[in-house]
Structure formats: C-alpha cells, structure tokens
Symmetry: C2
Subunit: 221 residues, 2 copies
C-alpha cells in the first residue's frame, strides 16, 4: 500500500521546519513542500488561511490525508512522534527505554528550552515593543541551553547525540546549531562535542537534503 500523500507547510530558515524535513528525509518519505514566508506580508503564518491550519500561527504543519479530508498537525515534536509511529523504519528513537527518554530529553532542551526564547515572534516583540537587544538575548539563551544539551549528551553520545544512530535529538540539534551560528556563536570552540556530532550529521544525505539552503524557498544571502 502506498503511504498517504503528505504536504509540509514550512519555511526554509525555520528551525522547527528543518527538524521535520530531516526526519522525513531520514525515513525516505517524500512530501510536497508549501512555503509559508515568515517575514513577507507581515508574516504569512498570521494570515487567516494559515491560522485555520494551525491556530498557533507557526510552521511547520504536516498535512496528511484523513478519511474526512486533510488532517493538519502542528508542533514539530508531535509531528516527529507521529512520523516515528506511522513509519517506524528507519527508527529515530533507540529501542532502550532509558535511551529513548534521553533522546527525548535532549530534543525538549531545544524544543522547549531554547527555540521558544529565540523564535522570530518573540525576538520581534522584545525588540519592537520592549527595546531589548534581541540578538544578545537569543545568543545567551542558545549558548546556555546548548551547554546544558552538551552536558546531558556527554554520557550517551556516540557518533550522534545518542549512540551511533540518528535520533530525534539530532533532528533538533542540527537546526539549533544552524541558528547558533547565525547568532554569532563559535560552535566549534564553545561546544566541541556538539560540533563533532553536527559534522557527522552533515555527512548524511538526509541532513543535506533538509538544509535550509537546499529548499525551494531559500533566499540568497
């Protein structure tokens, strides 16, 4: 049976979209990509036709075919878990219970501990309404969060974040490191273990295909 057609609403530079693109590519799942421009028109994610798909007004949204019409799933980690259950091979979670928990803990350090504090909406609010230096704010939270990520990963990392197989944790880490560099963090110097894992991931086709610069909506810098 052919797997149902899927569509991913995302943005080339959105780290949460990037996570899902890695997972889809790792599992060999093809999707139609629909670009939602987070800056143009005041942010297309805030337009009514998109907030109907995701009331949070955020990408990514994975659209799958349901019996009664399309089903739209928001929140990147919920999407990763859905993909892992619907398409278990190749896996993105270890089989050992504690290592699964560790992969999810690392994922959530990024998903709940770092990214929400440096996403576009929050940075715009801080800068425009509160006069906060949002880049310095973002840099601080990214660095402290990734140092904690690295400390947790120390005991479980192999070639990748958790042992020698790619997991959710790598899907979360690599896009966050991409952001870290955008905000001027010297990843190699400050986060040597994570830099090593990032380099290993960068050699994989799934991570290459998911890279922001490879997306159809990418903009030359």
């Amino acid at each position: 049976m052919k797997p149902p057609a899927m569509k991913l609403y995302g943005y080339w530079r959105s780290s949460c979209s990037y996570r899902v693109r890695i997972a889809l590519a790792h599992k060999g799942l093809s999707v139609e990509h629909a670009a939602v421009h987070l800056v143009k028109d005041g942010g297309q994610q805030h337009a009514a036709d998109f907030t109907q798909k995701n009331p949070m007004g955020q990408v990514p949204v994975l659209e799958i075919e349901g019996d009664g019409g399309p089903i739209r799933l928001g929140q990147s980690v919920a999407i990763l878990e859905y993909l892992e259950e619907a398409h278990p091979e190749p896996a993105l979670l270890p089989s050992d219970a504690v290592l699964r928990a560790r992969a999810r803990q690392l994922t959530e350090i990024v998903n709940a501990g770092i990214q929400p504090l440096q996403n576009l909406r929050v940075m715009q609010l801080l800068e425009r309404q509160h006069g906060v230096d949002a880049k310095a704010w973002a840099r601080g939270h990214i660095l402290s969060g990734l140092l904690a990520f690295q400390a947790v990963a120390e005991s479980v990392a192999g070639r990748y974040c958790v042992g020698d197989a790619v997991s959710f944790a790598d899907c979360a880490l690599v896009p966050q490191l991409y952001n870290a560099r955008r905000f001027g963090i010297d990843v190699e110097a400050a986060l040597p273990l994570l830099h090593r894992v990032d380099t290993a991931c960068a050699a994989l086709e799934a991570f290459q295909a998911a890279h922001p610069d490879r997306q159809p909506d990418a903009q030359p810098s």
Copy 2:
C-alpha cells in the same frame, strides 16, 4: 515484580512538576518527592548538586533506579513519554494515531509555546535586566497560547481535551490554567471549553492529589 523506586525532584508551584505529578497519580505510581525551592537561596535549582542532576537547572527531574545507579530524567514531556512506555496502563495517550498526534500537539502548545515564555527564569530576566512588565508579558503569551490550544481542541475534545479519556494534553492544560489564574486571566469567561475540561479534571482524584496546594512543600498564600 515491584516497579523500581522513583523519586521526583520538583516544586509545588512549578507547572512542569505538576504535569508529571498528575501522570504519576493517574497511573497509580508512588514516588518519593524531593522539594527543590525555586526561589530560596537564589533558586536551589541553580546549585551545583542539582545541576549535576539536570544541567538545565530546571525541575522536574525523575530519578529511577538503573543497573549502574540512579538515572535522572529531565524535561517533563520526555518524562511523560517515559512513564507512558514503562507503565502503559492506564494510558495517557489515545490508541488512534491521529488522536495521539493531536494530544501531543496540544501538549506542546503548552510545553513549547506557552510555558517557556512565562517561566520564573525568563520572567526574572525580563523584569530585572530589561525592565519589562513580566506579568503583562506572561499574561499575553498565556492567553494567546491558550486561545490557540482551545481552537485546536474544539474538534477533538470530549469530557477531556481529547475525547473522553485523560491524556498528556490534560496533564499539560490543567497546570497552565492554574498559572493563567495566577496571572489574572478569567479562564471561565475567556476560555469556556478549557474551563469545562478543567472542571472535569478537577473531579478526578489524580488531579486533586497533584494540585500544588496538596504538596508537602506548599506555602500558605
């Protein structure tokens, strides 16, 4: 076989600790509670003996017995997933794939979309270092996030957030509504569906036992 002994490092008013307490009580699992005072001594979660347990310096941490000594798991959603896999009955996720995704999406709206923007550390930083009215900031993010939560829940809610069985989504929602009220949001008026679900949850023994006021470290207001 007796399940391994567990210990939960938490704080009575921490909404992330509260989520895990609900899940533990729902599953009938007893744990030893270790209080980490988030305000006293500049925040005991920042002390070296705690950051060894969780480099993020956050509660909750679930400590379980491992072959080589205690294993400490951070990040409340990673802990919920661990508990669901290790102690599957009574379940906290539906069996249907799409409804599981929906329960996780709702959970992440709170976990990644709301709580990180209104946690103690962020509010202290905003107030002390940037002169931002942190209560107004928190109130705004809580209300907009819960409105999105409610919009997503509309299509799947029954007695609880997803149908007629308690799920992760309720474990996340009820503590966030507790915070919403602390910050002055009129939940009944602004969020009628969520208020109804909250009332249904409040009738359950697991939710009662997990309430902040029932914890040994609770402080009279």
